[in-house]
Every structure is written in C-alpha cells, then in structure tokens.
Subunit: 271 residues, 2 copies
C-alpha cells in the first residue's frame, strides 16, 4: 500500500524534507511517495495544500504524513484540518527550546534563510574554487586549498569537492591520478609540493567498472582488468607517500565529506 | 553570553545540524557556537562527547544545547548524563510515527544513509553534468538539460546549477550572457534553440558590483556603471524573449533552486 508524505514549509521546505526523510528511513519496506510543498505562506496556499493532501488520502486509501516547518500558527491550523497525520516540527521543539534559552522565538517567516545569509559569500567563493580547481587544473590556486582530493578517474573526487564547498564552505581541489602517474609510480611535482593537504579516495574495482561503464560502455577504461590495476596501483601510491585515504564504495557524498573533514581536522567556513 | 550547540549523530550529523540551525534561527540575538559531532557510534565516543559538552558548559557558564539523531538508545542515555539540554529528534518523532504507520521502526544505525544510496548515480551524474555545462560550454549536451540558467557574470548561475544537481539530481546547465550578446541585443543561436528551457537570473547592480569587486577589485567589470548597464540590458533581453527570471539579490542558493524548480515545474531525480 502506497502512502504519501508531504514536506510543507513557508520557506524552501528543505529542513522538513531532510528530517522527514531521515525519520522515514528508520522504517523498512515502506512504499512512499514524497511531495515537497515550498512557500506555503498564505491562507490560500495553505487551503490548496489541504486539498492536495486530501486528494492523496483518497487516492492512497490511507492518511498521508505531513512534516511541516510552517512558522505562522494560523497556517498550521489550516493544515491541521486536512486528512493527514501532522508532524509539527517547529511547534514540537520551539517551546522547550524557548525554555532552555530563556527567551521567546521570533516566529519570523523566513527567518531561517536570513540567518544563513552571511555565509553566502563564503559558500559561493568555495563553489567557484571547486569548479576552477576540478580535474587537475593548473595547481596555481593550491595555496588556498583546505584539501586536495586525489584518486583515479570516477572515484568520487568531483562530487565530494562540490559538496564540501556547498555545505561547508571548504576549499577543495581535486587531481586525477592518471595511468602515466601510476606507471611512473610517483606523485606529480605539483602534488608533492602540497603533500600535507592531500587526501586519497579509492573504490572497489567492481563498483568503479560499473560507474565507468555508464560513462563509456565497453571501453578499456571501464574494463574490470583496467579498474583492478589502477586501484591496486593508486592504493600503493597512497601508502608510499603516506596519504590518508578512504574507500568510498558504500558511502554517500555526505559521508565522504564528513569523513574527510574529520580526518583532516577541517573546520569549514560555514559560519 | 555565548552558548554552544552540539549536533550529535551516529551518522554524518547533517540532519541534526539542519534542524538545529533552522530552530535556532527563530531566535534573535543569540550568540551561538555550533559544533557538529558525527559518527558517535560507540559508548567510548558517547562518553568523549559528554566530556566535550561538559567542558563547553563550564566554559560558557550555561547549559549547551544538544540536538541529536543517535538511534541507539544506550548511547542516547550516555549523552543524557551530560550538562546539556537535550533535544532528542528521533526519540521525539519516531514513537508517533510508528503509531501513524502502524509498524515499528528499524532503529538501524546508519539506515538513513543506505536509504539514500539508490539516488547516488543520479546525483553524481547531475553533478558531472553541471560541471561539464558550466559557463557556456559547447551546448552539445543541452538536449539533456532540465533547465539552462542565463544571466550576466556572477548573478548566481553556477552555485544554483551545482545545488540543483547535488540536492535534486536536476541537470542544470548555465550560459553567461556576455557584453557582446547584450550589445547585439540578441540571444546566441545555441540558446534560441533551447528557448523553452531557459531561466534567467538577475541581481541588483549594487550587489553585483560588490560580488565582482571581491573577484577583480577596482576593475571596469566591477564598476557600478558597468553593472547597472549589464543588468538593465539583460532584463530587457529576458523580457523580449519572454524568459522567466528571478532577482537573486536577497536569496540563498536553496531558495533560488526551489523557486526555479517551482517555476519550471521540474520534479528532480532524487528518488
């Protein structure tokens, strides 16, 4: 039986979605459809949301779940008239939080986003840094790097750099270790000069072959033999140069980024 | 008086941090220090966390706040012995959620991350797409674009594309409208061919000048005169070609991405 979960917010809905997904992941074998409803910030929009929630209830034959971070109490009351089971995130936590802090909350619509605003420049700068220093660019900006990810092609370097920049304002460059580097058995000089900032990513050869196959089907590049050789050689290189490294095979981008920050003791510039 | 907030998790801690920050943003004038504690997944690590929390309590002279998404009950009990005020996110919501769903939760450590795993390829593919189609690349991949962002240099195109890819698996390309395009008063042919997928970003000239100034101080590129001209001309171009557009001046990347998805009715490939 399918069930629908709604993430309703007067802002982007990303907080409601993040929490709702994390909670629902604790249940096995659910068949869920997820619907994010951002910018529900007027009574008309709240009533339209109720209609959509009730339509899902009729279609599914069971009560939808509603995770909401709507600040305005009147809008929450309108949502509460729907056929859904409501998980009222702000209402649940703001009262005990007010008590702990000894002050009232502002209940400002969109307050969340204003609070993030002062990180804006640092995150944007970090994203542009990641773009400019992706895939072994010149190396002239390595002095500004918090970390330089190294590994073979498609071991997860680029998404990890982008996530580190986006989420934490970290300056992350990446450098692909090529077959030529592996044959020589030496790090290129541009990396030796920045050795203390290097972090290696590796990956199981079977997974690497499958990722590469999606990019260039039936190529030598994607063959299991080639992937096995490159992974064995690059891990040897990491050990020889004492570069800390991580096997990303079963990890999400969020996990890889978090592990890198822990291992390299990077604080980030998010705030 | 400074106060410390801890985001404690047996996983990355990103859910706890996202929710904790959103809640604390509802309070004005807090002076907070944020500490994320990921991978607290053994009794030793939980006890070490308690020590760090108690040290912050002594240093701040007031109880730290603890937002946790630790699944294991024994570890949560250990955290509960600290001097902090605990906001137990999973414990608060999982019981009512079990009731609504009529089934027990798995309480599997790391279940969250496994649940995300099947989105992995699509997000990674979208990130590589954003990198390859940043800043007006060839246009040969525009057939795969869900959206093509257009605007003057530093109007927010690149971070928005990267966020759309990372968070939602959306294929977002971007194309910078140059002075030559503006002088000609025409969209380049590669964009005309993909017109229904275009979305414009604009920005207040003062803000644009400040962003450009950080990149190239005291340049013509960063002058207020130049920024005013470009913004006026590009908005004219958007109107002439009936390209929907958004002023990003006071918006976070999350807000820009959410608005674009709403306006272009993009669903995303996250699940």
């Amino acid at each position: 039986m399918k069930r629908t979960a709604f993430f309703v917010s007067d802002g982007t809905g990303i907080t409601a979605e993040t929490l709702g997904e994390a909670l629902l992941a604790q249940f096995e074998g659910l068949e869920m459809e997820f619907v994010r409803m951002p910018y529900v910030d007027t009574q008309d929009k709240a009533r339209a949301a109720v209609e959509e929630i009730n339509a899902a209830a009729a279609r599914d034959g069971c009560a939808p779940l509603i995770f909401d971070t709507v600040v305005d109490q009147h809008l929450r009351q309108i949502l509460g008239t729907s056929a859904g089971s409501m998980f009222d995130i702000f209402a649940t936590f703001l009262a005990p939080l007010e008590q702990a802090l000894g002050k009232p909350s502002s209940f400002t619509v969109g307050g969340f986003h204003h609070a993030q605003h002062h990180h804006y420049y640092q995150r944007i700068d970090a994203i542009h840094y990641a773009m400019a220093n992706d895939d072994g660019a010149s190396g002239s900006e390595y002095a500004r790097a918090d970390v330089i990810l190294v590994g073979v092609s498609r071991s997860g370097k680029t998404p990890s750099c982008v996530y580190l920049a986006m989420q934490f304002g970290v300056h992350a460059a990446n450098y692909p270790i090529t077959e030529e580097d592996l044959d020589r058995g030496r790090l290129p000089p541009v990396l030796v000069a920045a050795q203390e900032r290097l972090f290696g990513l590796t990956i199981d050869p079977e997974r690497l072959a499958s990722i590469r196959h999606a990019r260039r089907p039936d190529s030598r590049y994607a063959s299991i033999r080639q992937c096995e050789d490159e992974v064995r050689q690059v891990e040897g290189l990491f050990r020889r140069y004492r570069i800390p490294f991580l096997n990303t095979t079963r990890m999400s981008v969020e996990e890889i980024a978090t592990r890198i920050m822990m291992e390299k003791a990077i604080q980030g510039r998010k705030r």
